[in-house]
């Protein structure tokens, strides 16, 4: 699967793929995609800056990455940077990226040189590295792993400085305190370590699932009257896998309080979290949480102690395609990451696919609780850097071409030619991974006779359902089976049902035969089928007559009225035809209401012609009335 969502194999692995903005100016966005490539994008121009494939990218995929803190602003020329980093270089590590891998090694990659700087392997982890944190000033690197240990590295010497067991289960996340003297680590529970002595200073309850992110949210305690020892009174934030709540904890001086002081609720599992540190008491913490469903939730909150109710977001940002043409329904574009710019008033959004993300700066000025940005990302797909072009060409297919796909033999797979690359986000994401995803294959395997397939399924399950229904006397189950109208289906079911259910079925049918003719007709079909198919079995039964006696009597008593009913039916038919006929005549007055035959009596008396004519017409009128009455009744 080429689609995003890195740890889709492991249910408890954090969602998304490792990615990070470079510190301070957010000039670069590093992204280690699932195919093992490390890509660094320029955020300002939305260009691919560098691409690097570690040699062991297939065996040890990148699980986490971290930018080295930039203590010097990134103004220097590349030359100088290079030289400095190659030298002893305690201060200038701005271009270094630390990559943790699934096999336990840590790679240091220099973005300036565009090559591997060094490898941290010896004495380190022997399992998946879960999180890497750079120390702000000492040039140390901290990493934690599934092997339950936390390791402190000396980056210059590429050696382990210290290694200690951090938890009873895997350690999934790390964070260094603002003053650099403490370290937070989290598996399921959260621990606060004193870095100097490597002793646990505080315990926190943590989450039910592995913690995926840890962050300090304040660098000054809210209560400034007390002397600040660097850690007491600080708040930090934690998010966990499969948890829709982000918890905020406070480091207190007394050791009792272990539970979270407050929590933020989001719509789905958090994938990427960014926040602005609050430096004083009045300044609210701004928090941007990217969820797995592709939305960004923004929170703005002044942290001041305990809050029982989970807070909901102040603003939600979504991105969707414009509805155009016949595909008028806009499709959501997933947001992959979001980072605050250094001015704290705008947000860098990374959206689209993991292989070709679009990076955009969005100003946060609106007060609306919901923002939906409409972006057409189909035209910006064309790769801008030559190196980014994958060497895959979509084969040109005409409509006659047949494509064989893996699947059930015999099914005629009607494959549509792969959609051109500049059409939809969804297809792009998949085709970018230079193989057809399972989903696409399934979609392509358009089974052209769905009706038949369904039918087969029913005949397979009906005997089972029937047997189960008869055994447990489940009314609904029996209804489902017995109320079918399909004669073929009935025949197949009766053929396949086990012999010992024949008598129970007959008894059930006896019960159902007494109902309304509408439903009973269906039961007769079943009865007939059973009698024809299982005649030989039934005739071998020694107690057939007592078994079927009730059924026989029931049927006999019912058909007794056949003659009378037919008689009644005849009458009714006549009646109905008369009614319909009269309705017809009512609708269109028929032309010939004149009598067919007029009987004229020859009068012997001499009368005037006029009188005779009068009489005739009277008589004919009378006849007409009679006949019309007859017809209408």
């Amino acid at each position: 699967m080429a689609a995003g969502g890195g740890g889709s194999g492991d249910p408890l692995a954090p969602a998304g793929v490792p990615c990070a903005f470079s510190p301070h100016s957010q000039a670069y966005f590093a992204l280690a995609s699932t195919d093992g490539h490390l890509r660094v994008w320029e955020t300002a121009s939305n260009r691919l800056h560098q691409e690097y494939v570690p040699s062991a990218h297939l065996s040890g995929t990148c699980t986490c990455l971290a930018w080295a803190p930039a203590r010097l602003q990134a103004k220097e020329s590349p030359q100088r940077k290079k030289r400095k980093s190659e030298a002893v270089g305690t201060s200038n590590q701005t271009d270094l990226l630390a990559l943790g891998t699934a096999v336990g090694s840590i790679l240091l990659y220099s973005t300036v040189k565009g090559e591997l700087h060094s490898k941290l392997i010896s004495g380190g982890h022997d399992n998946r590295v879960n999180c890497i944190q750079w120390h702000q000033d000492s040039g140390c690197l901290y990493s934690c792993s599934d092997d339950k240990h936390i390791v402190e590295w000396n980056v210059q010497a590429c050696k382990v400085k210290c290694k200690w067991k951090g938890d009873n289960s895997s350690v999934s996340s790390l964070c260094i305190s603002p003053d650099g003297k403490m370290l937070l680590s989290a598996g399921r529970t959260i621990k606060l370590w004193v870095l100097e002595t490597k002793e646990v200073y505080r315990h926190f309850t943590g989450h039910a699932t592995p913690v995926s992110s840890l962050m300090f949210t304040t660098i000054r305690p809210p209560n400034e009257s007390q002397p600040f020892d660097g850690i007491t009174g600080l708040y930090f934030l934690s998010g966990a896998v499969h948890d829709r709540l982000l918890n905020v904890w406070q480091v207190r001086s007394e050791n009792k309080e272990k539970s979270a002081v407050m929590s933020f609720t989001v719509t789905d599992e958090p994938v990427y979290i960014d926040l602005t540190l609050s430096e004083n008491k009045e300044e609210p913490v701004k928090l941007a949480v990217v969820c797995r469903d592709g939305q960004v939730h923004l929170f703005e909150h002044i942290l001041n102690g305990y809050c029982k109710k989970p807070l909901t977001s102040n603003c939600t940002i979504q991105i969707a395609t414009p509805g155009k043409g016949k595909k008028s329904t806009p499709k959501p574009i997933p947001i992959l990451a979001a980072g605050f710019c250094s001015d704290k008033m705008s947000l860098l959004l990374v959206y689209g696919s993991w292989f070709q993300p679009t990076i955009e700066r969005v100003a946060l000025n609106s007060r609306e609780p919901h923002m939906c940005l409409v972006r057409d990302i189909s035209n910006c797909w064309a790769p801008k850097v030559e190196t980014a072009i994958t060497k895959v060409r979509t084969p040109v297919m005409n409509s006659e071409a047949k494509v064989l796909v893996p699947g059930i033999p015999g099914h005629h797979a009607a494959i549509k030619p792969a959609p051109p690359q500049t059409e939809q986000v969804e297809s792009k994401r998949k085709s970018g991974g230079n193989e057809v995803s399972i989903e696409e294959r399934l979609g392509a395997m358009d089974i052209d006779t769905p009706k038949k397939g369904k039918d087969d399924l029913q005949t397979n399950s009906f005997p089972v359902l029937l047997t189960q229904g008869l055994e447990s006397n489940d009314f609904e189950m029996l209804n489902k089976v017995l109320q079918t109208r399909n004669v073929n289906l009935i025949k197949k079911t009766v053929l396949r049902m086990p012999l010992h259910t024949v008598i129970p079925l007959l008894q059930e049918l006896t019960k159902r035969l007494q109902g309304h003719p509408n439903s009973a007709v269906l039961m007769v079909q079943w009865l007939k089928c059973v009698l024809t198919v299982h005649a030989s079995y039934l005739s071998t039964l020694p107690d057939l007559v007592p078994q079927l006696g009730t059924l026989y009597q029931l049927m006999e008593s019912r058909v007794k009225t056949f003659q009378k009913l037919s008689h009644l039916h005849g009458k009714l038919i006549l009646l109905i035809t008369q009614v319909t006929a009269s309705e017809k005549t009512k609708g269109a007055p028929s032309p010939g209401q004149k009598a067919k035959l007029v009987y004229e009596e020859e009068s012997s008396e001499e009368e005037s012609d006029d009188e005779i004519a009068d009489k005739d017409s009277e008589v004919s009128d009378l006849f007409a009335v009679c006949t019309s009455a007859c017809i209408s009744s």
Binding site: S472, D474, K511, N518, S539, M555, L568, L572, V579, S633
Partner: protein, 518 residues
């Protein structure tokens, strides 16, 4: 006038489902109260002592509910992992529960922390129970062992390693403190005696055993596993008495009614079946919304509690009888009113005249008595009568027909009234028990109203409906006739076979046999 005979209302037997004492008894529950638990409810157990609270085991918690409370009155949540099988002691004061991490914990009902913790099992303990002497606990675990623990000094007394798969159910004898029974996924149910260190009896169920139950007498054992519920006679050394297969999915729980006359089984097919323990036939069946994992009946069957896989606990209370009696009763005349004069001894010269008992006549009978035939018919065509007791309507029509006045009674009706009659016909004409009478009535109606047909669209539509119905019925009966033909053939082959067998007998040389049979 005195000799009026009320119309005999014919009652017709309905084939099929019968309303038995059991259906009445088991239907007499209120609509269920549903309580959402944290996870699948794996066990429900009622305290044997009043006020009959019940313990519900779901996920890592044990909730204790009062009889009518929908909120737990107590919660034991000191489990690191899933808890199993919270069971009350006979005196209702102690509760024991197993757990996924292999521990067995004993709680006081009033306390919160466990009184005793029995450590020794290496895997999840799915079944625990108190023995009859109240001082021991039996536990069965996924490490294939069954252990007996002493409560006072929380020591392990005995370990039985006879099962070769997970032990998932068990129960202790109510009479003998040394006997207990366990069922395992190795398809066997074993009876252990604490005095002998080995199993004294083993029966082969044939499927992984999910639940076992001992009758209060201890003589009969019920085991459930797979789709079967099997009853074993322990006194005969484990002889299989009955094998019941009434579920179509795995049976997960068993329960006896408080009288011991009915056995209940719950299954993953979302049904609870009630069996009679004398005939072992299903006498009633309950439907639930999800697969059932646990089931319990309160004292005197006052409450049925069912726990399901979706974490919902369904509680059904019996309808209280007290409500009916609370209605203010009309004051009747005193008893002496009725016996007044009854003890009067007849003297020699007295002539005894009995006042004839006053006969109570139904309203339609009164009408008929006074020959108000149209009114009588109207009365029984009233919607309340036609829907509830159509047989009365039919009987009256029949009676009118017998008197020869049905045509008169049906005549002279307006559109509304005639459509009432036709509605009744449409509804009941296809019922074989009413058909002969109603067909006759329909013919009379047609005869009477033939001249005015076509004047009212409402009536015309009814006639059209009636015609459709009759047509269907005729089709149906034609089919039935065909089927009857088939059955005749079948029966005929039966008879011929008997005949041929007789012939064979004769050919074998038993001529006297033939004589007798012929």
């Amino acid at each position: 006038m005195a000799g009026y005979k009320p119309v005999a209302i014919q009652t017709y037997p309905i084939l099929g489902e019968k309303i038995t004492q059991d259906t009445l008894y088991w239907n007499n529950y209120k609509t269920p109260v549903q309580i959402k638990e944290f996870g699948a409810v794996s066990k429900v157990d009622f305290s044997p002592q009043p006020p009959y609270n019940y313990a519900v085991t779901a996920s890592s918690r044990i909730h204790i509910y009062g009889r009518y409370s929908q909120e737990p009155i107590k919660t034991f949540s000191r489990f690191k992992d899933t808890a199993y099988c919270a069971t009350f002691r006979q005196d209702g004061r102690l509760l024991v529960a197993g757990s996924e991490d292999g521990g067995v914990q004993l709680f006081d009902i009033s306390g919160r922390a466990p009184l005793r913790q029995f450590e020794g099992h290496t895997k999840a303990v799915h079944t625990v129970d108190f023995t009859a002497d109240k001082y021991h606990v039996v536990s069965g675990a996924d490490d294939y062992t069954v252990k007996l623990w002493d409560i006072p000094n929380s020591k392990e007394i005995l370990t039985f390693k006879e099962h070769s798969d997970y032990v998932r159910c068990g129960c202790a004898s109510k009479l003998n403190p040394d006997l207990f029974i366990t069922g395992s996924y190795d398809h066997t149910v074993k009876m252990f005696d604490a005095r002998t260190n080995t199993s004294v009896l083993s029966v082969e169920h044939g499927q992984p055993v999910e639940s076992v139950l001992l009758f209060p007498s201890g003589g009969l054992l019920v085991s459930a596993g797979g789709r079967y519920v099997k009853v074993w006679d322990m006194l005969k050394g484990g002889q299989l008495l009955v094998s019941l297969k009434n579920h179509h999915k795995t049976v997960t729980c068993l329960c006896l009614s408080s009288s011991g006359q009915r056995l209940l089984s719950g299954s993953l097919d979302r049904k609870v079946k009630v069996y009679s323990t004398t005939s072992y036939k299903v006498v009633h069946s309950f439907d639930y919304a999800a697969s059932i994992l646990s089931l319990a009946l309160a004292h005197e069957d006052e409450t049925i509690v069912v726990g399901m896989t979706n974490g919902i606990l369904s509680v059904k209370h019996r309808k209280s009888e007290a409500k009916k009696e609370s209605l203010p009763r009309r004051r009747r005349p005193a008893y002496r009113t009725f016996i007044k004069g009854k003890n009067y001894m007849k003297q020699r010269d007295d002539i005894l005249i009995n006042r004839p008992a006053k006969k109570h006549l139904e309203l339609y009978d009164r009408d008929l008595k006074h020959f108000r035939i149209s009114k009588a018919l109207d009365r029984v065509l009233d919607p309340t009568c036609t829907t509830k007791t159509p047989e009365i309507t039919v009987s009256i029509i029949k009676e009118l027909n017998r008197r020869g006045v049905l045509a008169n009674a049906l005549a002279g009706r307006d559109e509304k009234e005639i459509s009432h009659v036709l509605n009744f016909l449409i509804r009941h004409l296809s019922q074989p028990r009413f058909a002969p009478v109603l067909i006759n009535a329909a013919e009379i109606i047609i005869d009477i109203y033939l001249p005015v047909i076509g004047q009212s669209p409402v009536v015309d539509k009814k006639f059209l409906l009636l015609q459709g119905l009759v047509e269907k019925e005729i089709d149906y009966q034609r089919e039935l006739l065909e089927t009857l033909g088939m059955m005749d053939m079948l029966f005929a082959t039966m008879r011929r076979k008997e005949g041929t067998s007789v012939l064979e007998h004769t050919s074998d040389g038993f001529p006297e046999n033939k004589k007798i049979e012929s």
